[in-house]
Symmetry: C2
Subunit: 280 residues, 2 copies
C-alpha cells in the first residue's frame, strides 16, 4: 500500500464469514459510488470461541491479502476481530481502519434515552469488554450490561427463520437482560441484524436496537469525506465489487446473492499462500 | 492556533444566535468530557436573509475570535453559515472543522427507507442547494425536495409553544412538501429541533425527522476519535464551558440556561474589536 491514497481505490471489508455482508449491504446502500473488496474467512468461521491471539493472526493474514489491492480504507466487519486486532491492523496499514465496535458505541450514546445500554455478542467480543470500554471512555456515567449469546450465530447460520424453536432460543439467550430496564441494545455481532426481528420482539418496543452494520457504513462515509476520499464518479455496478472466501465459493455466493439481492463475483482463496505476501 | 493540537483543548461552536445551542446540548450529552466554547452572534441574527458574502465575513470574524483560545475542533452550528463559509473556514484553521449540513445529509441517507428526502431551512440555506449537493454527491439516485421556511425561525424565537396559531404557521410552511411522499425530512436549521413536535405532527409518523444537531455531535465524536483527540479526563462541569454573545448577555443566558438545563457563564463580546485579531 502506498502513501498516496486514491479516491478511486476500493474499500476493503473483512469478516470471519458471511456476517460482514450486513456491513457490505449498508455500504452499497449508503455509499453506492464506492467499490468493495470483501474477504469472508468462512473456512475458519466462527471466530467467537477462538483465542485473541489466533483471531489476531487470522485478521492480519486477511489484511495482508486485501492489501495486495489498492485500498483507500479497511473495515473490520467482525466484532470479535475488531476487539482482538483493530489496534494492530491500524499500526500495519497506512489507510484509515474502522472497526464495528466504536461506531456501534457512538450510536448507542446518541440513541440511548436514559443511558441504560445492553450489549450482546460472541464470547470473544464480550470477554474483551471492548464495547464497555468504548462506551465508558466517552461517558463514564452510562449503565452498561454485556452478555454473550453463543447460540445466536448458529441460529443465523442455520437460516434464522421465525419459528417457535428460534423464538425459544432467542428468549433464552436474552432472558438475563430483561431485568436491567435497558433503553437500547447493541447488536454486537454482525450476524445479529439478520435476526433483528426476533430480537426486537423479545426485547420489546421500549428498547432501541443498534446495528453496528448501519453505523459503521455511516462512519465510513464520514471518514472518507473528511479525508477527501469519497469517489466522485458514477455509482458502481455489481461486477465492480469482488468477494473472496477461504471456504466453498458456491455456498458463499448463494448466501451473498440472497442477502445483497444482486449478482456477486466470488473468488476462492487458499490461505497458506498468504504467508508469502509482505505486509503492505 | 498551533499545529500541535491537544486533546485537552476546547471544541469551538458558533452560530448566528441561540439555534446552535441544540448542537451544544447534544455535545454535552454525547461527549460529556469535552469542554465547549460557544459564540452566538445574536446581535446580527438572523443570518438566513443575508447575502453569502456577509455571512462569510461574519463567520470568519467569529472563527478569528474563538481561535484566540486553544481549540481542537470547530463546529459551524448554523446551516446558513455552513453553506456560505465552511470551505473558507477549513482553509483558515488547522483544526478539524465540521458543518451541520454533511452530517445531516449522511444521516438522511442512513435513515431514509425509500430514498425520498425533504429538506427545510432558511432562504440562504435552501438557495445555496448545499444539502441537495451533499446528498446527490453521495447518492445521485436520491429524490430530494428542498423548501425554505422563513416563518419558522421567528416562531421558535417567540417561544415556539404548541398553540393553534403556531400549528397553523407550521402547516402553511410545510404544505408544499405534502405531495412528495417523503420518507425523511432534514431539519436544515438548528432552530427547528426546538419545534420538532409541531413539525412531526404535521408531517405524520411515516416521515423520519433528522436533526442536524444530534448527527453533528455524533460526527464530532467520530472525528475526535479518529484523530486521537477525545479527552480522557473526567466529565466536565458547567463552569468549564464558556458562552460568548454579541448581543445582550442576560437574554442569551436566560434562553441558554432554560434549554441546557444548567448554569451557563456568558461573556459579552464587542465585535469591532475582532478586526485587530490576526487569523489563527
Amino acid at each position: 500500500m502506498t502513501d498516496q491514497i486514491s479516491s478511486q481505490s476500493a474499500v476493503g471489508i473483512l469478516d470471519s464469514g458471511v456476517g460482514g455482508l450486513t456491513v457490505v449491504k449498508e455500504v452499497f446502500r449508503q455509499l453506492p459510488k464506492e467499490r468493495v473488496l470483501y474477504f469472508g474467512d468462512t473456512l475458519r468461521c466462527p471466530y467467537g470461541p477462538r483465542t485473541p491471539e489466533e483471531v489476531r493472526r487470522f485478521t492480519l493474514e486477511i489484511v495482508r491479502y486485501l492489501s495486495l489491492y489498492p485500498l483507500k480504507a479497511l473495515v473490520i466487519a467482525c466484532n470479535t476481530a475488531t476487539a482482538a486486532a483493530l489496534e494492530e491492523v491500524r499500526r500495519n496499514v497506512s489507510v484509515p481502519v474502522l472497526g464495528v465496535i466504536e461506531p456501534g458505541a457512538r450510536a448507542a450514546i446518541t440513541l440511548s434515552s436514559h443511558g441504560r445500554v445492553g450489549v450482546i455478542g460472541t464470547e470473544g467480543t464480550i470477554r474483551s469488554s471492548a464495547y464497555e470500554r468504548a462506551l465508558k471512555q466517552i461517558d463514564p456515567d452510562l449503565y452498561v450490561v454485556s452478555h454473550s449469546c453463543p447460540t445466536l450465530v448458529p441460529l443465523v447460520e442455520s437460516g434464522g427463520e421465525d419459528t417457535p424453536q428460534a423464538r425459544q432460543i432467542v428468549r433464552l439467550a436474552l432472558s438475563p437482560l430483561k431485568k436491567h430496564r435497558l433503553d437500547s441494545l447493541i447488536l454486537g455481532c454482525t450476524h445479529y441484524p439478520l435476526i433483528s426481528g426476533l430480537i426486537g420482539r423479545e426485547m420489546g418496543s421500549g428498547v432501541t436496537l443498534i446495528s453496528s452494520a448501519e453505523e459503521t457504513a455511516r462512519e465510513l462515509s464520514a471518514v472518507l469525506h473528511h479525508k477527501g476520499l469519497l469517489y466522485e464518479g458514477p455509482a458502481r455496478q455489481p461486477h465492480d465489487h469482488l468477494f473472496f472466501t477461504s471456504g466453498r465459493p458456491e455456498a458463499f455466493r448463494s448466501i451473498a446473492e440472497n442477502w445483497l439481492a444482486q449478482r456477486v463475483s466470488v473468488e476462492p482463496v487458499v490461505l497458506p499462500a498468504l504467508e508469502e505476501s509482505p505486509v503492505g
